[in-house]
Symmetry: C2
Subunit: 280 residues, 2 copies
């Protein structure tokens, strides 16, 4: 497995037609089974698999956890080597955002709701870094986790709108045995918080069940879910919404919407922000 930290070195590589399709898994490192499931899908579907590890400063807000974001580079590389990854690209910020950097990719519709409403510059950071990585790595297929469903939808829209010649694949959320969605940020949780954390997914599942039992009033469903999440006082809900998969805008009624909507939530457990979602 080759590890490249230098853009010039990466650009020297020219993947031959025999090495394609080229699969790409962009990550911020601190890899868990969710990331590895993306790597395995790429390994199955592609001749070559490239993983990037880069904690992208432009997708963090001023008071967010950029400085504390867990960095476990040596361990990440060892995990990727075991998975048979061909190339790890781990650039420095000086290379990615040199002095005077001034160009951004912005998506103005899907990125405004849900997380976008609370993290105003987040998706602009995401679309910009992913556009850059796509241009550098030139993948045929890119793999993303459905845990960050809005991120996937925004990036899929970017690829469509900017005519990028890349197939976008969303892969199912990988969960701990108790249902908690895998996330590098789970590392922030204290043992007590870790015990409470599965309540997020459990509540989404209960909401899904109530929907299947005939609750088609989305407003009532959300209100019920919020009261469940907040009943013990450990979790603080940032948002809980039922949204259309098409435009990521809230819906109010759920008759004849099967397969077209999803529940999305962001909650705080202490200082740690967790997100999850579930399709209806």
């Amino acid at each position: 497995m080759q590890v490249i930290k230098n853009i010039a070195e990466l650009c020297k590589l020219n993947f031959s037609p025999e090495q394609r399709p080229l699969g790409f898994v962009p990550t911020m490192g601190c890899l868990h089974e969710g990331h590895l499931s993306l790597v395995r899908q790429s390994r199955e579907q592609c001749q070559t698999t490239v993983v990037s590890i880069y904690v992208n400063p432009t997708q963090f807000g001023a008071h967010e956890d950029f400085d504390n974001y867990p960095r476990t580079f040596a361990r990440d590389c060892e995990l990727l080597r075991q998975e048979g990854v061909d190339l790890v690209f781990a650039p420095t910020t000086q290379q990615i955002y040199p002095d005077g950097f001034s160009t951004y990719v912005i998506e103005e519709k899907l990125s405004t709701s849900l997380c976008g409403g609370f993290r105003p510059a987040h998706f602009r950071g995401v679309t910009t870094i992913v556009a850059k990585l796509f241009n550098l790595v030139k993948p045929d297929i890119a793999f993303f986790g459905e845990k960050d469903l809005q991120q996937f939808k925004v990036l899929e829209k970017m690829v469509l709108d900017l005519n990028m010649d890349i197939t976008m694949r969303a892969c199912p959320t990988v969960r701990e045995k108790d249902g908690l969605a895998m996330s590098s940020r789970n590392n922030y949780l204290t043992p007590e918080q870790r015990e409470v954390a599965p309540k997020l997914f459990y509540t989404l599942k209960q909401m899904q069940q109530r929907y299947h039992q005939g609750e088609h009033d989305a407003v009532a469903l959300v209100q019920w879910g919020k009261s469940q999440l907040e009943e013990t006082g450990d979790l603080r809900v940032q948002y809980l919404e039922v949204c259309s998969l098409r435009d990521l805008q809230p819906v109010t009624q759920l008759s004849n919407t099967a397969g077209k909507t999803f529940i999305a939530a962001a909650v705080y457990l202490g200082e740690t922000r967790l997100i999850d979602n579930l399709k209806l």
Copy 2:
């Protein structure tokens, strides 16, 4: 010469290594000798030359000349055929900006001064359409005219910042015998205006001469140039500035700046807006 109006059809083309380098000249049609000089440079330097013809609505302001912009498609194709162009790509707006389009490329430094100060959404439209065309055509080398020097600088910055694997070539402004920079918008001029129009370049040349004669006070130089342009009342100056080639910001003194600055101007002749520039 192949003419393609359909994105799907364009994407089916796969240029072989033998057909590369692939040269690309993006245009809004109404071709003149300036465009053709870009085509000839591409033909000299590249195995294959692609020209796009698309009047891009997103780079026109609400009260600008999008509706009236001259469209001469049949004549343009005939000129390009004579030049030995391999492929003309002329998409429809429904294909380029389908309903719900929401992703833009923005450059936030070089695009703010000069034309950017008076045409607030212009460069966002330019960077977005050129990013899309680059992703569709996948050129090795792209050719632009220096008449639109700020446009070139902004696009060059986009290519650098977003790590697009494309060589950017700026080609000298082509002028009429009397010095007027070739522009599709020259077609708007009445015979009387056409007679006055060369005064723009003539004044830039005079300013350049005064600079070479030792006038290093950029403010005084600009003031002199404005008075020259406006003395007869036919031309209205939108801006006239001496700027750094590095950041496109105004400079005040011109000692030890040889080769590092340029004069840029936009003037109105009636309703017609003309721009030009000259390096110092």
